[in-house]
């Protein structure tokens, strides 16, 4: 019996045959944490009396959630993590100003590679599945265990194959495909599964849309969201700083022709219009045209879901020569410093600033209701992020609508949820 992508990577690492449901101990190629999950993991290691890491070259720490430090508590947590990184000579400690949001930094820096296993103390770790890595979110205790032993226990997941066909309409992107999928599957529709995305649609889309879709695999409960390796993957992986300096070997994991999938879906997306996830769940998805006169107070464009350079370009194309509606605050969050630099080369910050937007530093702040754009009572936000649970971005009565970057930008100009076609 053949292997799916997930089974192939897990079997390779476990050094034995694997079958869904089996629990395997596997070596991890990278164990990553942000400052919040790291602080708890460090506390655990201290409680356990462990003072030595299995391999500091396989540890990645990125302070991004409440950073640049929003208050004294956040500064204290960042300091705990920074001191830990220095003490243990952690190879990938990426400081504020040289990193950004973990999930955007890691694949673009080459910190994880195709065929590898990464665990991350953040549910959106699955983003790296876009480059054919088995990347999955875990908690702080798992991270502490992985740092201490170099291994993690994983249940071999069943796999789901999702196929997308057709020619996309204008202003329809990876975000719309994954929201459409969430509408179909629901927030528990792929629980414990490894999703494999495939189909001719991806020939029309850049890598950024794969990242968006891999990122939101967790919103269907999935353990991983994986793409096959192709020329686009190779181009991205081999242009990363780490690859260019170290030329590391990596293994491509392709699914076998006789691989077994527990679930299969085919979506013909030729007629799909932009999708909107309405409050208070990412699976409460409607067609954009079904929403009439939803007035908004804030728009957030970017983050780990849609903060890739193509996303910023799509938003800038809408804003170019236009201004944000007077009643709307707009916050642009590049995924990383590297992406912010690319945006500068393309002249995008000027467009955003001329349109009346905040061109922010990379941070998870607004998305988790932390800082840099928290919502007040009954405020309504259009956001390109990945979750819109009650209270997610601020006050419990605030509402978040999830869209793609072009729709978010158009809504910012219109002052209500709307389409780029209305401009």
């Amino acid at each position: 019996m053949g292997y799916t992508i997930a089974e192939k990577i897990l079997a390779e690492h476990a050094g034995c045959e694997v079958t869904p449901g089996q629990i395997v101990n596997v070596p991890v190629d990278m164990a990553m944490a942000n400052e919040l999950s790291a602080a708890l993991a460090i506390k655990e290691l201290n409680n356990w009396g462990i003072d030595k890491l299995a391999d500091p070259n396989k540890v990645c720490l990125i302070p991004d959630h409440f950073q640049p430090a929003k208050d004294i508590n956040a500064a204290g947590i960042a300091k705990v993590v920074r001191d830990f990184a220095r003490k243990h000579d952690v190879k990938y400690y990426l400081e504020v100003g040289r990193a950004g949001i973990e999930h955007a930094v890691i694949p673009l820096e080459g910190i994880v590679l195709p065929g590898q296993i990464m665990v991350g103390g953040d549910s959106h770790t699955c983003t790296a599945g876009a480059i054919n890595s088995f990347a999955t979110g875990v908690g702080s205790t798992d991270i502490a265990g992985a740092w201490a032993t170099g291994e993690v226990w994983l249940k071999v997941p069943q796999s789901a194959r999702l196929t997308y066909t057709g020619k996309l309409r204008p202003h329809v992107y990876g975000k719309d495909l994954i929201l459409h999928t969430l509408k179909d599957l629901g927030t528990a529709g792929a629980t414990y599964m490894a999703i494999e995305y495939q189909g001719d649609v991806f020939e029309q889309l850049p890598m950024s849309d794969r990242f968006t879709m891999a990122n939101m695999a967790i919103e269907a409960g999935a353990k991983a969201g994986l793409f096959q390796f192709d020329d686009k993957t190779r181009e991205l992986v081999e242009s990363t700083p780490r690859y260019k300096s170290d030329k590391p070997d990596y293994t491509i994991a392709s699914p076998d022709a006789d691989a077994v999938y527990a679930m299969e879906r085919t979506y013909d997306v030729s007629d799909l219009e932009p999708q909107v996830a309405c409050p208070f769940s990412p699976d409460n998805v409607k067609n954009l045209s079904a929403l009439h006169n939803v007035k908004i107070d804030q728009v957030v464009i970017g983050a780990c879901t849609n903060g890739w350079i193509e996303d910023l370009q799509r938003a800038a194309d809408i804003f170019n020569g236009r201004t944000a509606h007077p009643d709307v605050r707009v916050i642009i969050l590049p995924g990383s410093q590297m992406i912010a630099r690319q945006a500068c080369d393309l002249g995008l910050p000027q467009i955003f600033i001329d349109a009346g937007c905040v061109f922010s530093t990379s941070t998870c702040g607004p998305c988790i209701g932390g800082h840099m754009g928290v919502l007040g009572e009954k405020e309504v936000c259009v956001s390109t992020t990945n979750r819109n649970f009650a209270g997610r971005m601020g006050h419990l009565s605030s509402e978040v609508y999830l869209t793609n970057p072009a729709v978010a930008a158009a809504s910012a100009v219109l002052g209500r949820i709307g389409s780029p076609d209305e401009l």
């Binding site: 629990i23 919040l36 999950s37 602080a39 708890l40 506390k43 655990e44 409680n47 356990w48 462990i50 959630h65 409440f66 508590n73 956040a74 947590i77 991350g120 103390g121 953040d122 549910s123 770790t125 979110g137 875990v138 908690g139 702080s140 205790t141 798992d142 502490a144 265990g145 201490a148 032993t149 291994e151 226990w153 927030t187 528990a188 629980t191 414990y192 967790i218 409960g221 353990k223 769940s281 988790i368 209701g369 932390g370 979750r387 649970f389 009650a390 209270g391 997610r392 419990l396």
Partner: protein, 164 residues
């Protein structure tokens, strides 16, 4: 191992953002976490809970963020176990890893109401709802997970491995 307690009943898709809102995710102290547990679902949750209570939930309990402060805050406030129709996967492994016992039993959830008295026989695979006078079974933990639970969480396994 047996767990006995009074039921606090919740619905489906209880996400970790309402269990422990993002604004409190910088906390690591148990007493502080306990104060804010579930506050976006029920502002008085921490006051209503007595030590040893059991949460009973419908499908997909703990979906969303991987934040371990969610199950930690539940443990800290005095919750002894969670029984649900199903769990989101990161919450499931976090709970096993930190030693918060969790069980899947859709049949039990269907008949159980707030305030019912439950008794769980952890390794016997049995839940008794004393208030309703009914007994339910759940699938035994796989041997590997049973080992983690018996060791009180991942800590025991890690220390054992490092001692090899």
């Amino acid at each position: 191992m047996e767990i006995k307690g009074k039921v606090y009943r919740v619905g489906e898709n209880i996400n970790t953002d309402v269990i422990m809102p993002g604004r409190w995710c910088h906390l690591t102290d148990d007493a502080e976490l306990a104060k804010h547990c579930m506050e976006d679902l029920d502002a008085d949750f921490a006051k209503k809970i007595s030590t040893g209570d059991i949460i009973v939930a419908d499908d997909n309990f703990g979906c969303g963020s991987s934040r371990e402060v969610a199950p930690l805050s539940m443990k800290a406030v005095g919750i002894d176990a969670v029984v649900a129709k199903s769990f989101a996967r990161i919450f499931y492994r976090n709970s096993i890893n930190i030693g918060l016992p969790i069980f899947e039993s859709p049949e039990c959830v269907d008949v159980t109401e707030a305030g019912d008295e439950l008794e769980i026989d952890m390794f016997g695979g049995k839940i008794i709802n004393h208030t309703k006078g009914k007994e339910f079974t759940f699938a035994p933990f796989p041997p590997f997970m049973k080992t983690i639970i018996e060791k009180g969480g991942l800590k025991g396994l890690v220390l054992e491995k490092l001692g090899e």
